[in-house]
Symmetry: C2
Subunit: 712 residues, 2 copies
């Protein structure tokens, strides 16, 4: 928290806008500070009152004699800038502006926000909000906040911090966690983010020793790449970062646009960042609860092979279904495990996975057998994690079962999770036993399975990052000469196909054999292999097909002559303004599968590489995968594995397997090129990129430069 | 409940197997009957005791003087058949066999179950179980049950009945519902279903006036078609039927197979039955809770256009996202609505959808404005339902808001749902107000959106069924002559392509123009249009491609002669046993899109029609849709709309739209043929079925007859 230390642990807080009206934000702040035993000094500010809540009330910030670390401002919008000016004069390091009436409220508010920010920047003061519920440090009773954050139920101390761009919705996540017994460290509602934004808060929380898990609700970010980077740092320090992205659909994004003026960015790119940084995406409130419970157990599976045990066959089936959906497989037990189980499981049960130890097995009188059975499964080298279906087990039996697991849990690092449907009132006080032992309990086998899958995802992401993100990609000097093509230096607008392909070739990406001609006599027909593609060559014609500028499957010399004439005539009549360089004659490829690959230089995320199924699939199936550039081969392989058309690349109907390695290398090269030239390139499209049995070949390409106005 | 009246409302219950050991099933049953004030007579049976729980204990069923409606049997498996024989002798109409040790436990148990069933059938006695938790009629304190069903918490009276093939898991659903305040009518754990199965219970519940909503957990059914039929009856009488299907994945089905011996059936076919009958599929425990709460409100939307209102922008965004995923659209308001809202919503709020009435708007002092705003939105003709995001609204404000909605709710039939994250303890006793008004409250905007979507789905299914399921398909005599082809009468095994296509043509499905030849001279070359497909004609060769029996894109007469020779030679060398009828020369189609269509005659569901993307898509994308035959055009259209390749049929890249009507008619015809010939046909494949701009044409076809051994 280094530079935010005084914000989260202020020695003194001034609250501007206290009032006899208890619902005024400032009044709520002061009362909450008092109620929670905040240990620092509180300075209420309102010229109308000599005293507030038994404390001296100051007429202005200036009038406060002592040093002030944080000023909380709850006055109407029109008065905020004047208060900020006083804070600046007093060298206050942090202001939390609760007041609304800024960017979110139209032109006047936008101007007001800009003025406020200018004053703060000039003075080196940092601002939280405006238009926010504020922030709280639960451990130390620090509440620079109002509204739901200050109302009961009081959050208990814990290791979770929340950063939310929506006070009302974000705090709903906190309330659900609180109801499940989860404790908190910091809660931050960021409001308009005029100054300090979500990512900067996330970064600060990584430095806070008391924060072990972070949850964020995000509607939009001005800098998506910063999220990738803070996510990677979070993964590196082992603090799980859970993110809910709001506004992921068209109608959700539309609602977000009318709610805030944040740039939202493409959801695909957010998901790419999540995957590349090991960020855990949540899409339901109970997912936050479940995954935090799982992470708080601090036990991670080494793989995705799980065992499920219980007396309820149906619960095991449901767990198996949900596990398969979440990418978990039921482990096959060793013979030794089955022998061990056979000694303690009734004959009418089952000693394979799912283990059916029959109804009534979990009971005080059977604790030893139950413990032996669970240990046998946990000790199996094929098992990475275990789910115990307690289901409707109740009362003393439930308690006894919990005690058995609590004794076993510390023995091994493998996660144990429990499905229990008995209400707390009937579960024989088993819940505190489970909690003390760090064994998360879930109210459905589906949720138990998903939580285990998230633990496995996280463990995999952590294992992978070890050598990966620190690799060559950060150092621009490692990038080869081909990634700095001379052609780009003075290029403007769209490059021609020939120039685009030339640049690809320069960086080592294979392209089709092409010749640029003006008539049939220019074509070295005898040295080329039909069929040919004939395409108009003009940097001014980006969509060649639409003006009849493409002829495919041209075979004979006569057909070729006619095709060359036709595309020239079409271009002249349908794109009369275009400067035409001639006609490209390309050897057509066959026997492969058409992909598309490309780069989008996004305003929020910067350069992103996309790969997808090409041809008719591209338009219909939207079968694409993307990652933020630059990235390594393992990441490129993940992208390809995400495609629904992935099995085609292994060969179908007896056809040869296609060269996935070549596609991987192409994507990695594109990602390096995209990163290195991010200030120059607007987009790059390879359509199609032919995946062949021995290589990947760009059959058409288009590079578009950024205009100067949107250059970074 | 007509024929099950005495099972669910017995005048007397005998319990065989009571014991001083309180955990014995029979002891649990009697104690539970006493505790719940069962009004009929209880006859404990055990020769060891003269008395049990202060009642006379009988040495045997025979020794009971009075009439017995239900005998509950909890003795060890070995003694069950003897008890059943006594029941038979005494003409007891129903036995509930709690004991395990039957079909689920191996060969001996299978024999035991068969003997028990034979005795019962002979006497006209019906059996529940064996190996089950039994059943309960909550309203009347009838518990022919043990285990979790008999333990606290006591279910409260209500309108929901539960039928479950897994006692432990199914009762977990009941417990979650109970925790949400939902009351129950009947709970039935069916066990091995030796006699009465799930579908028969569902049917009985449709006749029970007190049951308004039914939930079922199903692992497998012997007769899937009966589920379709009971589902349609449930839809017709307006009792929502919610079904969780366990064992829907490969590993889930594998777990189910080791748990029970039920036939499981393909999940695709279950889902088809769900869609055709308006059955609501559930895949999480809280979905059962949420959808029941929504259905209990008895308000249904006329369409899928929803409004969302609140002071929490983030909650509205999340609702919009979830709504889009669930097929809901945010309604556009009329200008009148916006004018009405503008009068009561603060200027800094928003009067379009989502309505942002700003934080703190829901409050006692603002009740009139709040009510006016909600009424304005409900009165908008474009709005089918409204979600109110109370979010973190708490205390008196929350209560006041609930009162406002409770006053409005009776006015219109449009559903009102609420998202509230405040815990019950802090919500100002608002929950009873909402409950009394029939306004369901959900703990996340996602769950609110999904519940509204389910209500809309159900209303749509009800609207559609009105004229549909009662149509011609039930009457075989309406079926045309083409659907009873003479060729089928004595057919055995696989039919040849020519015969299969002949049958298709006979029922009005277009096929490619083919000639069956023995050599090139048989081909009327001048009257046919190349390119041609050349295919070996043999009923013994089902997979022609694999033996080199297919040549495509044959153009000239010479190529054709060579192709005919080649496939004949290949067939002779690679399928020497096959009887070869000759060679089929077909005009190849182009300009369309390849589909596959066919019929599977499933052991559990009977004839099912499948349609899907053909060619390489068929193998890779698994893009298929299916419905149980027979069905109407609207259903066929649904199938096509489900395909991911659906947009291709509308024409892509400027190509003509394809004839969806022809595909629809083809599927309906196939469904009628499949139903009419269900006792004879094993499968029918049209691969490919060419979708063309003017028609749908079968380019290849294969009909396989059922063997006599599996004929129905």
């Amino acid at each position: 928290m280094k530079h935010f230390e005084r914000l989260f642990n202020p020695r003194s807080i001034a609250v501007v806008g206290v009032s006899e009206d208890a619902v005024r934000p400032g009044s709520q702040t002061v009362r909450t500070l008092l109620r929670n035993g905040y240990a620092g000094r509180i300075y209420p500010v309102n010229p109308k009152y000599p005293q507030f809540e038994g404390m001296k009330c100051y007429p202005s910030v200036e009038a406060i004699g002592g040093e002030v670390d944080v000023v909380v401002i709850g006055v109407p919008a029109g008065g905020v800038v004047a208060v900020i000016e006083q804070c600046a004069a007093k060298r206050v390091p942090f202001a939390v502006v609760l007041s609304g009436g800024f960017r979110e409220s139209g032109p006047e508010g936008i101007t007001r926000q800009a003025r406020m920010l200018a004053v703060a920047r000039e003075a080196g003061m940092r601002i939280v909000g405006p238009n926010c519920l504020g922030l709280a440090n639960i451990h130390d009773g620090v509440y620079a906040a109002f509204g739901s954050i200050t109302r009961p139920p009081q959050l208990r101390n814990g290791a979770v911090s929340l950063v939310t761009q929506s006070g009302g919705f974000g705090y709903s996540i906190a309330l659900a966690c609180a109801a499940a017994g989860i404790g908190f460290r910091n809660v931050i509602a960021t409001g308009n983010e005029a100054d300090i934004d979500t990512v900067e808060f996330l970064d600060a929380l990584l430095e806070d020793d008391e924060t072990k898990i972070i949850v964020a609700y995000i509607e939009g970010l001005a800098n998506g790449r910063a999220l990738l980077e803070v996510g990677r740092r979070a993964l590196a320090v082992g603090k799980p970062l859970l993110v809910w992205k709001g506004g992921v659909t068209e109608q959700g994004a539309h609602a977000a646009a009318s709610h805030t003026a944040n740039l939202t960015g493409s959801y695909d790119f957010y998901q790419a960042a999540f995957r590349q940084a090991g960020i855990v995406e949540i899409r339901e409130i109970h997912e936050a609860v479940d995954y935090i419970k799982a992470f708080e157990s601090r036990r991670f599976p080494a793989g995705r092979k799980v065992a499920v045990m219980g007396g309820s066959g149906g619960s095991a089936i449901v767990f198996a279904d949900a596990g398969e959906h979440a990418g978990l497989t039921l482990a096959g037990f060793t013979d030794e495990t089955k022998r061990k189980l056979a000694r303690v499981v009734p004959d009418i049960g089952a000693v394979h996975n799912p283990v059916d130890f029959t109804a009534g097995y979990i009971a005080g009188g059977n604790a030893e057998n139950f413990g032996t059975a669970v240990r046998a499964v946990l000790d199996d080298e094929n098992v990475d994690a275990v789910c115990l279906n307690f289901a409707t087990t109740a009362g003393a039996a439930c308690h006894a079962g919990a005690e058995v697991l609590a004794r076993i849990a510390p023995d091994g690092g493998k996660p144990i999770v429990v499905f229990l449907s008995t209400p707390p009132s009937e579960s024989g006080d088993a819940l505190p036993v489970f909690e003390a032992a760090g064994i998360p309990v879930f109210p459905s086998p589906v949720r138990a399975a998903k939580a285990l899958a998230v633990l496995a995802d996280y463990a995999q992401a952590q294992a992978r990052q070890a050598g990966q993100f620190t690799s060559a990609f950060s150092a621009d000097e490692d990038i080869g000469q081909g990634l700095r093509p001379a052609l780009l230096r003075n290029a403007v607008g769209a490059l021609s196909e020939a120039d685009s392909k030339g640049i690809l070739e320069g960086m080592g990406i294979a392209v089709t054999r092409d010749v640029l001609v003006r008539c049939i006599d220019d074509v070295p027909f005898d040295t080329m292999t039909p069929p040919f593609a004939v395409k108009i060559a003009s940097a001014d014609i980006a969509h060649k097909t639409e003006i009849g500028g493409v002829k495919l499957n041209v075979r004979t010399r006569d057909e070729l002559a006619a095709a060359i004439d036709e595309v020239l005539v079409n271009a002249r009549s349908l794109a009369p303004q275009a400067r035409v360089d001639g006609v490209i004659v390309s050897e057509m490829l066959s026997g492969g599968f058409e992909l598309i690959a490309g780069v989008v230089n996004d305003a929020v995320f910067g350069p992103v590489v996309v790969v997808g199924a090409g041809g008719v699939h591209a338009e219909i199936l939207a079968d694409t995968a993307c990652r933020l550039a630059p990235f390594d081969e393992a990441t490129a392989r993940d992208m390809i594995d995400e495609l629904r058309c992935r099995p085609i690349l292994d060969g179908v109907r007896g056809s040869a397997a296609l060269d996935v390695g070549a596609i991987v290398r192409t994507l990695v090269t594109l990602s390096q090129f995209a990163w290195h030239n991010r200030h120059r390139i607007a987009e790059l499209d390879i359509n199609p990129l032919f995946a062949l049995p021995g290589g990947a070949v760009a059959a058409d390409a288009l590079i578009v430069m950024r205009s100067r106005s949107d250059a970074v």
